[in-house]
């Protein structure tokens, strides 16, 4: 069953746009609360060891300071199974920057000043932060992020490599990367009792959190567990979120710290906002990766072997295994295939989701290797990919729900002027610049997570309310869900009001895995149909009906992925090696596009992040101290407006008949996948220099 077309497919402007640009949209920290207390964390200055003494005396003496909370004073948490969230529960320090205390004061200034006066003595232990492929202690995780097996092995890669007419066997690396949403991670926590805001009886502790999160419900369920409360007595409110990119996809230590801090001043709201610098150790990051990619092919470019073996890090405190090689399992046809993930558990902050975990770094290695193979075979890179298009998913053997990679590549080549690409690298020049074009393929899986429910209500005056505890982190979800509901109810857009961003609303899965529109949207479609089924087109005032996200039988029968082709033009100053990217084009196949305006922003936003990953972003960890030394925007460079010239995204007009009632596969992450490889490949085409380690900087291009 598909929904009627009308609002869906139209470039509706953001429903919350006016509130955001006029500043009336209250983000978590802006939320007016009575009589707030301000929290400033104290962070560990060693990478590993124990706190042996803390002197909060000078801090407590600062005017306006209400409390200094350390592991000695902090309340005991009910559940410390998640070590990242076991905040202030012991004297152990597992990474530099970890919370060792928090100061509470009447003003942010007093809190910060006092936090600087807390004296902490440590018993320092030797730490280990350096990732190398040849280091001792690498291990195989039980599974990698997404629940995938860490290793796969089919056929005989070594024999196939031995026999192949053409081979590529190279190491590619990506650095430690950091999510930097514009809005930092903020939490405003207030403890009350049931008397305050309903739910629970008087005297029953109740926690309300105004939070900047990608999932109010997951924050609620997690914090309820950590603080030992029934979920009904935790409420998380998060209507507006200034970006997340995965870093707000799960609760992090600051959420718990805000809750613990607020226990010290019962009844008063505690405001906590991480600074940009603090985010570098506390908001998750992308692991550095060391990727060995091996490709074996016949002289005609047909792959006989694909191997993608990755070494990366996790935190000794808590495991997060980025699924870097998973994309290589389904991308190209080859009878012999191997993937592997090995981890080093280091004394580093806890890594986590960052836009397209797995595919984003993995497709740098894989797609640069494909470019190297094209070069070795004397084939056009578009043609090489077309020759290796698998009929069915090589991993599962299932048919594709819709794989249009070759169409994306050909369409992009035509639009981008691919025929102008010099066949011989380093031979096209414009003035003092070397000009190159590059291409890379991208993909991202279709995810639809169970667990969302939507409820539709009618107020009697022609207006419908659709309630679902989903999140709009700048993606356009607010608008897109309104469009979906309007079409499913067969009413005008203006007749629907969507409510999201509150755990009091029906449950919804996290805004992650590019799954929001498909998951929440199909719950909304089901709820709207249930509503019309129960009440018809003339519902009585107060009518209400809800539905859970329906199961998706096709998900077990088909291999479902979005695909894309990324093109980049680069210009490299022949004498200084300075790199400019005047043009990027992405052509995507992502099923139905619900809102071209907000979708375009997702695609070009992802591509811009990919450009930034290609040329700028690199966390520099000082292994002597365990400290990310460039932990601010002065030194951790992100592309500026002046670096982003013409980034364009288009998509195939299509509908994935197997992707739920909307036929839409998800668009939030695919834009970053392949973009760095397209740029690296264009740099090679321009200069003849093959850069296999990101970021690509001018000094690497001078020979």
């Amino acid at each position: 069953m598909t929904v009627r077309r009308g609002a869906v497919g139209a470039p509706a402007p953001r429903v919350e746009g006016l509130a955001k640009v006029t500043g009336s949209a209250a983000y978590a920290y802006d939320r007016p609360v009575a009589d707030p207390v301000y929290a400033c964390p104290v962070q560990a200055t060693i990478a590993r060891g124990r706190v042996v003494a803390i002197d909060g005396g000078a801090a407590a003496g600062v005017e306006g300071v209400l409390a200094v909370v350390t592991h000695r004073e902090a309340a005991r948490l009910a559940d410390t199974a998640d070590a990242e969230l076991a905040v202030l529960q012991s004297d152990a320090v597992a990474f530099r920057g970890q919370f060792v205390g928090v100061v509470l004061a009447e003003t942010p200034e007093a809190a910060r000043q006092a936090a600087g006066l807390v004296r902490v003595e440590y018993d320092e232990e030797p730490h280990d932060t350096e990732l190398r492929a040849d280091r001792a202690g690498l291990y195989t995780p039980e599974q990698v992020n997404g629940g995938f097996a860490p290793d796969t092995d089919e056929g005989d890669v070594d024999a196939a490599m031995e026999a192949a007419a053409v081979t590529v066997d190279r190491i590619y690396t990506t650095p430690m990367l950091f999510n930097n949403p514009m809005e930092p991670h903020t939490s405003v926590a207030v403890w009350g009792d049931g008397g305050d805001e309903g739910g629970g009886g008087p005297g029953e502790a109740r926690l309300t959190l105004y939070d900047s999160t990608q999932g109010a419900h997951v924050v609620r369920s997690t914090l309820a567990r950590v603080f030992g409360l029934p979920p009904e007595r935790v409420r998380v409110i998060s209507p507006y979120v200034g970006g997340g990119f995965g870093s707000k996809g799960m609760p992090h230590a600051h959420n718990v710290l805000a809750g613990l801090a607020a226990m010290a001043v019962p009844g008063r709201p505690v405001k906590l906002a991480l600074t940009r610098q603090q985010m570098f150790s506390l908001a998750g990051h992308r692991t550095p990766t060391i990727q060995r990619v091996r490709l074996g092919a016949g002289a005609d470019g047909r792959l006989t072997a694909v191997a993608h073996e990755v070494v990366e890090h996790t935190s000794a405190l808590k495991e997060f295994a980025e699924q870097t090689a998973v994309g290589a399992r389904m991308m190209y046809a080859a009878p012999n295939r191997r993937t592997a993930h090995r981890l080093a558990a280091l004394d580093v902050p806890v890594p986590s989701w960052m836009r397209a975990p797995g595919e984003a770094p993995g497709f740098f290695g894989l797609e640069v290797a494909m470019d190297e193979l094209a070069q070795a075979c004397g084939l056009d890179p578009v043609e090489l990919r077309a020759r290796n298009e698998p009929e069915v998913d090589p991993e599962s053997g299932r048919p594709w729900s819709g794989r249009h990679l070759v169409r994306c590549l050909r369409e992009g080549a035509a639009r981008f002027g691919w025929e102008e690409r010099a066949a011989v690298p380093g031979t096209r020049r414009a003035g003092r610049e070397l000009v190159g074009l590059g291409v890379a393929a991208s993909t991202y899986p279709y995810y639809r997570f169970p667990g969302s429910r939507a409820v539709v209500g009618y107020d009697g005056s022609g207006r419908y309310t659709v309630r679902i505890g989903a999140a709009d982190i700048g993606t356009g979800a607010w608008t897109v869900l309104t469009q979906i509901a309007a079409d499913a109810l067969e009413c005008p857009l203006g007749a629907v009001r969507v409510e999201i961003g509150d755990s009091e609303l029906p449950p919804a899965t996290v805004a992650g895995g590019s799954s929001g529109t498909a998951s929440w949207g199909s719950a909304i479609v089901a709820a709207c149909h249930a509503f019309r089924g129960a009440y018809g087109t003339e519902p009585p005032p107060g009518a209400e009906a809800g539905a859970d996200m329906p199961r998706d039988p096709d998900a077990e029968r088909f291999a479902m992925h979005s695909f894309g082709a990324q093109f980049a033009e680069v210009r490299v100053d022949a004498d200084t090696g300075e790199i400019r990217v005047p043009r990027m084009l992405g052509v995507f196949s992502a099923g139905r596009i619900v809102n071209p305006r907000t979708a375009r922003s997702q695609f070009i936003g992802g591509m811009t992040m990919g450009l930034s990953m290609a040329l700028h972003e690199r966390g520099v960890l000082d292994h002597r101290t365990g400290h990310v030394v460039n932990h601010d925007f002065a030194e951790y460079h992100i592309a500026t407006h002046a670096d982003v010239v013409d980034v364009d995204a288009v998509w195939l007009e299509e509908e994935d008949a197997h992707a739920g009632p909307l036929g839409a596969r998800g668009i939030g992450e695919i834009g970053i996948v392949g973009a760095p490889a397209a740029i690296a490949n264009a740099v090679h085409n321009a200069t003849g220099v093959r850069v296999r380690d990101l970021p690509i900087t001018p000094d690497l291009l001078l020979r």
Binding site: D575, T576, D643, D699
Partner: protein, 291 residues
């Protein structure tokens, strides 16, 4: 922390004499970052923003321009871009529009970062820094003698920077900067050149490639001796100039770039800016002859 707000230059000098450890603040684009990152905690801040003289510039009787330390980059570009093209080019590469609205050459001099963008242009253009103290009055310090070390200058504790003096360009001037992105970027290295055709002399200076910004003296002397001002630029002269400019550098490896890259890029920028300037000079001559 005390916050002093003198209304006049005399008051500012008096305040600085009374409390030499007070840190002046003009645009605040360096100072506020340092305070925010807790790099240091001065005993007092001496806010110069009410001192109107600092935000003025004048053309002096001797033909030079005297530019108040508090004139922001945006105004320097708009109001003096024609007379100080090298400095204006450098100013255009500073930070972002917001930073150029607040940041000043006075602050760049006060901070004395080896990577500060105004320095090479000041050096190549023979700028003189006017500093003053209540006790000893004015000192005029050639830019060349102003920088002492990484983030150190020759100011004494009771002195403030009043202005810098520069002659309007007597010939073509260029500034060139390599950065790892197109805006909001600290120079990996930079280079400035100023042709003084009347004196048959060339000013040249490097930035972000040594502990201080510095003149490329040997390169300047080489051009003064070897350049034939009435002929096209000889490739051998250009090459040697690039080499000597490179030799003026003593760069380090850091997150922004390697020492080797910096040396290379200084050579490129030296050759490039000299070529541009030379082409302008000859084109200008041709135009004049034609006109």
């Amino acid at each position: 922390m005390e916050f002093l707000r003198p209304a006049t230059w005399a008051e500012a000098l008096a305040a600085k004499a009374d409390l030499p450890e007070a840190a002046p603040i003009q645009g605040g684009t360096d100072m506020m970052v340092e305070l925010n990152f807790d790099v240091h905690r001065p005993a007092a801040l001496l806010d110069l923003n009410r001192v109107a003289e600092l935000t003025r510039w004048t053309a002096e009787a001797d033909g030079r321009l005297r530019i108040g330390a508090g004139v922001p980059y945006a105004r320097l570009i708009a109001e003096l871009g024609d007379r100080l093209p090298g400095l204006a080019q450098a100013a255009r590469t500073v930070g972002s529009p917001q930073i150029r609205n607040r940041g000043t050459v006075g602050g760049n001099l006060g901070a004395a970062s080896p990577a500060g963008d105004s320095h090479p242009a000041l050096l190549a253009g023979d700028a003189v820094i006017e500093v003053e103290s209540a006790a000893r009055g004015v000192r005029m310090i050639p830019a060349d003698e102003f920088y002492l070390g990484v983030k150190r200058n020759t100011l004494l504790p009771d002195e403030l920077i009043r202005a810098f003096w520069m002659s309007p360009a007597s010939g073509p001037q260029y500034f060139s900067k390599v950065g790892t992105r197109n805006a909001m970027v600290i120079a990996v290295c930079s280079f400035a050149i100023a042709l003084h055709p009347g004196e048959r002399r060339v000013g040249a200076a490097i930035g972000s490639a040594a502990p201080t910004p510095r003149r490329a003296r040997a390169a300047e002397e080489f051009l003064a001796a070897e350049l034939d001002w009435d002929a096209p630029l000889e490739p051998a002269v250009l090459r040697r100039f690039g080499e000597l400019a490179t030799e003026a550098a003593s760069p380090i490896d850091d997150v922004r770039g390697t020492a080797g890259y910096r040396r290379h890029a200084i050579g490129v920028m030296a050759r490039r800016t000299l070529t541009w300037a030379w082409n302008d000079l000859r084109a200008g001559r041709t135009e004049r002859r034609a006109g």
